[in-house]
Amino acid sequence: MHRSADDRLFRMTTGIFAALVLLLVVGIGFELWRQSLLSIEKFGFKFWTGRVWDPVSGEFGALPFIWGTLYSSLLALLLSTPIALGIAIYISELSPRMLRQPLSYMTELLAAIPSIVYGLWGVFILTPIVRKLELLTPAALRKFPLFSGPPLGVGMGTAAIILSIMVVPFTSSVAREILKNVPIAQREAAYALGATRWEAIKVAMGYGKTGIIGAVMLGLGRALGETIAVTMVIGNNPQISLSLFAPQYTMAAVIANEFTEAADELYLHALIEIGLLLFIITIIVNALSRLFIWSTKRRLVNIISIPPVVEEEKAA
């Protein structure tokens, strides 16, 4: 009797600490909402569609920042997804066993490098390279909106490149884990039907599709919220443009740049409202990503818990 009371107490006490983590997520949302009420009440939905950001006259429209965040993340994913999936496939399916560990570790090192170091490298090394490439762009191409505007080096293109590099390790490590968990029988079945190596890989990828979508979304979540590196290379100009050359602005960057300058309360609340939207978007993206990854892993682990026994019997 005594012991079970003790155990209940233990469960309760540790449970309270666990509940703190839940509280933290809810608390962040509540606090951001509370601190942006002035702006929410004053501008309503117009905040999300307004194109003018003028702190002096007290007019706040966040559309250029939302555009910048979505566009830069989308471009980054276009670059990073094929590379990250290529890495995952190479490491889990193609590489010599000896290279597996070192390669996966090296690609994951990309995640360990601080954002500020990416930013510094971006400003002093990558930007001049991108500028040279922009100068080399033939005039025929520059008529397209994607390549219009003066070749400054800083701008959407540079930001997308930096973001894609930063996102790769997150997507590739999850995708690799999913592939590792796809039952070997799937590939063997494909080979038995006469598939080439690549066709067998496609079968394995299709089998873990949901999880791989989750891996890509995990990268998307990172790209949406990345702040410092992007702030340093995107040019910080609130305009909506398709051009890769154009200096633009993101939600995270405007918060980083203007937060300490926000002199009046409305200005501060407007910035926090941008933070609130960023929070909501990233929560949704991350939650979906985790659900996809979890459900795939659970399905795969349940399946492969049977075959090993069969194989052991065969060996015996």
């Binding site: 090296m106 490098i113 500020i116 400003v123 990233t282």
Partner: protein, 282 residues
């Protein structure tokens, strides 16, 4: 060409492209490390560690205050995140199948993905606004909240590596849950938990965004945690945005130090995890 010949060629090309993808990812890694070492290591000297920043125009000076500031911020963050994160991790590992546990696990994963700048705003509203002053405490709270989910998840995972036999043996001897956890399971997993804390420290040591409007920055020597404090990351950010060559050199030196810190922490953690897995393999 025959159909199967074409399929073989497609396969070979696709395989080659996967290898190219690896090179494409390792290229920027090599480039970044190369420049950080080239520009950073040559700018590093003894004064960097021992001197204060010099005003514009005067060459030399260092980041002594920022190095100490970063250490203080990490200390504050760890004081907050380690107890909460570890106990939460213990709960998840002990009662893994309850509905509550899976909700908390999910929340920790989601929290891990919340942009650090958003966490910074939260710390600003919680700590800075009420007293109307930027402070090291606010920076520590922001970093601590970023640290919690990492500590939670690694603690849980590594506690689960402890062989079930140990737990069952303790319970069979009549130990209560708490006793079994604190005298048998946690000590067995202690190297793992320390590793988790290292991983989390590596993550927050390089954070800049959440410090910009919590700890702010400080060009003077300060160890007072109720005042704004300098940090390596914010100092590098400030210097990188300045137009002065000498400050750029200092920024590279700071970046070199940051990369060294985070890479060392993650390499140690990596080796430790591998060692643990080997140790606990049946």
């Amino acid at each position: 060409m025959s159909y199967s010949g074409r399929r073989k060629i497609v396969s070979a090309i696709a395989e080659a492209l996967c290898a190219v993808a690896v090179i494409l990812a390792l290229l920027p890694l090599a480039m970044i490390l190369f420049y950080v070492i080239k520009q950073g290591f040559t700018s590093l000297n003894w004064a960097f560690f021992t001197h204060m920043p010099k005003p514009v125009g005067e060459p030399g000076g260092g980041m002594a205050n920022a190095i100490v500031g970063t250490l203080i911020l990490i200390g504050l963050a760890a004081t907050m995140a380690v107890p909460v994160g570890c106990i939460c991790g213990i709960h998840l590992a002990e009662y893994p199948d309850s509905r509550f546990a899976s909700v908390v696990r999910f929340a920790a994963d989601v929290l891990n993905g919340v942009p650090s700048i958003v966490v910074g705003i939260f710390a600003f509203g919680l700590v800075v606004l009420p007293v109307k002053r930027f402070s090291a405490i606010a920076g520590g709270v922001a970093l601590g909240m970023l640290m919690i989910p990492v500590v939670v998840r690694t603690t849980e995972e590594l506690l689960r590596l402890v062989p079930t036999g140990l737990r069952e043996a303790a319970l069979a001897l009549g130990a209560t849950r708490a006793r079994a956890v604190f005298t048998v399971i946690v000590p067995a997993a202690l190297p793992g938990i320390l590793t988790g804390i290292l991983v989390a420290t590596a993550r927050i040591a390089g954070e800049t965004a959440p410090l910009l409007f919590t700890a702010l920055n400080n060009s003077y020597w300060s160890t007072n945690i109720t005042q704004p404090i300098a940090s390596l990351t914010v100092q590098v950010y400030t210097y990188a945005n300045s137009p002065y060559d000498d400050w750029h050199r200092q920024a590279w030196a700071g970046a070199f130090l940051l990369v060294m810190i985070t890479l060392t922490l993650s390499i140690i953690a990596r080796l430790a995890v591998r060692g643990l897995e080997r140790m606990n393999r049946p």
